[in-house]
Structures are given as structure tokens and as C-alpha cells.
Assembly symmetry: C2
Homo-oligomer: 248 residues x 2
DNA sequence: TCAAAAGTGTTCACCGTACACCCATGG
DNA sequence: CCATGGGTGTACGGTGAACACTTTTGA
């Protein structure tokens, strides 16, 4: 057993340890950026929304949508603000990903960037705003090379999205409110990048018992038409309270 | 009363380089802290290493070990530096957790903190350094209330540790090089906070085929003695290359 | 000889997966 | 009437979980 000395504060300070200073004034400050990987789904493919950067450095190149943290906002606030600017929406699903901090990641100035990923219903984006930013949806496989370490951020986001969709029902954020089983399956196939068996998929989803089957049909995809479903958030929340864990 | 310097923005860089058309100069800069949740395991319980803060604000309270990011280092560098100061070791297993950014999280000054968690072999820590910092190991359940949002960081770290130990063999970082099956099981029980069946556990571990069973026995725990094992990193790495995924 | 921990296999239930045919409809 | 996508159920194997007794040896 290890014996600890209690309450001993040695007067000898380790000089190069920042926390030992009695105020923060000597510490370096940095610019803190927030960059957003914005995912959408267009019925077949997983896409990301990129902007054409209109300022130096790297002007004219494709980039994630980003901005800098302001003094009076949290990182989440900042990501929300950035997403709002580009899409016009509030309450977008988003999650903090990771902090990227290579010293020379931005050649203009030392900047640390915290990446967020967001999920939006691709049908609802605001076309005007997107044009204002020269933004464009790219399927993941056809996306251009991005500036700085943004490609790395995107890869990180895809990994996280895969993990997250398999234990939280966030996939629905990428779909319209009403969707067919087929669309849901295609979405999961796009995210997981693998084909799924139709019957097993439907059995699994129905087994979760968190969808409402509507009487309406979507007649656009076939002659027979396919039933529309809705995510039942209330039911899901209740089940989670009772110990249910989403798993797909 | 100590007066802290406010966030003074010095737009020197950009003013001296007018050809660089970036608009970074108007942006706020922040102090970027790195705080480390350091886990250890003492054969029975999962523990964290806390320090008694010896400067204002919150002097004398228990806190995570932390520091500030320096201009010329990455977040990982910074975490490594901080861990090295407290433990004397390099090459400690660590992983970035999450960025905490509540505007008033540190009452002294606007600070964003990126939390890291680290795993160390509790038997190898440097007693002198730990005393210098008035540091102490606390079992998770008996840890005191921490300053700022550090409790939240710890909770986050425990969740991540649980997840990570179930898909990467990082548990071994917390054990001595040679360990018994019993110790390994106790470790997993401590991390997952649930009891495991001895036979099932051993079958599962043996099924992974990533341990070397030594001929040595640990005679300290019983009259019969129990065989010692070692993690076979080479074998594990080879298996991973061949598509093996650790899962426990 | 007894106490205390080490070590060892089998059975069963459930879940994930593979797999094929009929239905409804518009053209 | 036919082409197209929609919708449905079962069988099998593998994995995870439950479960109890023997071995060793120092005191």
C-alpha cells in the first residue's frame, strides 16, 4: 500500500509548469476555429457540404464550413452559429468530434480547430445561402481535396458517424420526416458502406419498435407504392428511460 | 486581489503582412488548457490521480493535472508534457477526449480546455513528483469534488475508457508487464463496474489468442499460485493487420 | 485437514444471417 | 399481362451466458 502525505504543499515550484503560476497572463493564446462536416443524404449517397473559400490563405479551394470561436460563446454555440449561417436552420443535429492542433495546420497563423459534424435533411437546405457561399454537395467518394487538415476531419467524421448511427437513432436526422423502409435501408447502407439484406434489415428495425407506420404510401418509387414511416421520438425516449438501448 | 489581463488582441501579425488577405486579425483568441484524467489500477479499484491546486483561483481544491497549450506544441504534445511533469514518464498511453468550453468555466479568465485521459501502471509512478504536486490517487467512488468542470471531464473519461477497453487491448496499460488472469479480470470488472464470470472471461481472453502464458507463477495471491501472462503486442498487431478486431 | 484461490467444460437460449417467393399496380 | 419494386418468414449455426466441482498447498 502506498502511503500518501496529505496536505503537503512544497514551496518549491516547478518553474516550467504553467499551472504553478499564480495567474494566466504569461500563457500563449491561440485562435480557436470550429469546422463543420455537414452530412446529407440524397436517397442514394452520403454527401458532404463544402464551400469554396473566398479569402486567403487557400482562397478558391474547397473547404469545410468554419469560423472562429468568439469570446462569449461555447464551442457548441459556435458550431450552431456556423451551421445557421450556411443553412438558415437552428436545431441541427451536431456533435463535437475532435481537436486538431498541428502547429502549422493553417499557414496564416497558429490555429487550433475543433471539428464538429452535423446531419441535415438535404432536401431542406436553403439554396440561396448555399449559393452565397459557393457551397456544393459532394458525394464522399467524389469530394475534392480539401484545404489544411480538413480531409482528415472528414475521415474522422465518417468513422464517428458510423459508430454513432449504430447506437443512436440519428440516421433519421438525414431523412425527411416521412420515409420508406427502403430509403432508411439505403441510408444505412450508405453510412456503413455495405449492402444489407432487406428482410433482416426490416426485421431488425421493426424489432426496435420505434417507428410509426403511416397509412400513406410513397407512390413515386414503384407502381405498388411503399408505406411511409415516421420516427417515434416520444416512444423512443420512453424506451430509453426504461433501459432500452438502440443497436443496429 | 489579483488583476488578470483581459483578452488583449494584438493584430501585429496581420498588420505587418498586409498582403495576406486573411481576416484572422479581428478574431478573439483564447487560452487553451489541457487537463488530464490519469487512470491507474491498484489490483482492486480503478483510481484517478488528482492534484491539490496551489494557486488561485480555487487554490487548495482538488483538480485534474493540467496546463496550457504553448504556441509551438500540439494538443498531444501538451498532454504529453503535462503527464511527463507529473509522472516522469514518456510514452504514456493517452487519448484526446473532448473540448470543454463553457464561457465561465474558469472564473479567472476565458479558457477552453481540451481533456485527455491517460492510463498508467500505478506501481511505476514517481513518488517524489507526486508529492511535489501534492497529488493523490483516489478511487473513482471516493474522489472529492473537483474544481470547475473537472468532474464532468472525469465522467466523460470513464465512459470513453469503458468503450475503448471493450474494443482495444488498452487495459494492459494499467497492469504490470506480467499479470495474472485474475488481475486482468478484476481490472475489467473495475472498468466496466460489473462482475464477470471467471470461466467465461478466461475463455474469451484465451479465444483472443493475444497473451503469452509464462511458466512463472505469482505466489503472492494464493498457496497454489497463479500463472503469469504477458500481452503479446507483436502477435496482436499481426492479427489486426489480418483483419482481426479485438472485442470483449 | 482445512481454508483459499486457481483452474477447467458443457449446455442452452438467443441473435444474427442466409435465403426465395408472392403481391400489387401502372403501363 | 408483364415488368418493377414492395413486402414477408423460417431454418441454422455461432456466440454469449449460466453454471459447479476438483486441484494445490501453506498454515
Amino acid at each position: 500500500m502506498i502511503i500518501f502525505k496529505k496536505n503537503v504543499i512544497l514551496p518549491v515550484f516547478c518553474e516550467n509548469l504553467p499551472h504553478m503560476l499564480n495567474n494566466y497572463s504569461k500563457e500563449d493564446k491561440v485562435l480557436l476555429a470550429v469546422d463543420c462536416i455537414i452530412f446529407g443524404f440524397d436517397k442514394e449517397e452520403l454527401k458532404i457540404l463544402l464551400i469554396k473559400r473566398d479569402f486567403e490563405p487557400e482562397k478558391g479551394k474547397w473547404s469545410l464550413m468554419g469560423g472562429f470561436l468568439k469570446r462569449n460563446e461555447t464551442l457548441d454555440d459556435s458550431a450552431n452559429r456556423i451551421l445557421h449561417h450556411l443553412t438558415g436552420f437552428h436545431n441541427i443535429y451536431m456533435e463535437q468530434l475532435y481537436g486538431f492542433s498541428k502547429v502549422d495546420r493553417d499557414p496564416a497563423e497558429r490555429t487550433v480547430s475543433v471539428a464538429y459534424y452535423a446531419l441535415i435533411n438535404i432536401e431542406e437546405h436553403n439554396q440561396e445561402l448555399i449559393e452565397q457561399y459557393s457551397a456544393r454537395w459532394f458525394s464522399i467518394s467524389e469530394a475534392p481535396k480539401l484545404i489544411f487538415d480538413h480531409d482528415q476531419m472528414v475521415n474522422h467524421a465518417i468513422r464517428r458517424l458510423r459508430y454513432r448511427t449504430s447506437n443512436k437513432p440519428i440516421g433519421f436526422e438525414l431523412l425527411p420526416e416521412k420515409f420508406t423502409m427502403r430509403q432508411l435501408q439505403k441510408l444505412y447502407e450508405a453510412i456503413l458502406d455495405e449492402e444489407l439484406d432487406k428482410r433482416n434489415f426490416i426485421n431488425k428495425i421493426n424489432g426496435l419498435d420505434i417507428l410509426i407506420k403511416l397509412t400513406e404510401k410513397d407512390m413515386s418509387s414503384s407502381r405498388k407504392g411503399s408505406f411511409l414511416y415516421q420516427f417515434d421520438k416520444e416512444k423512443y425516449d420512453k424506451k430509453v428511460e426504461d433501459g432500452f438501448t438502440f443497436k443496429i
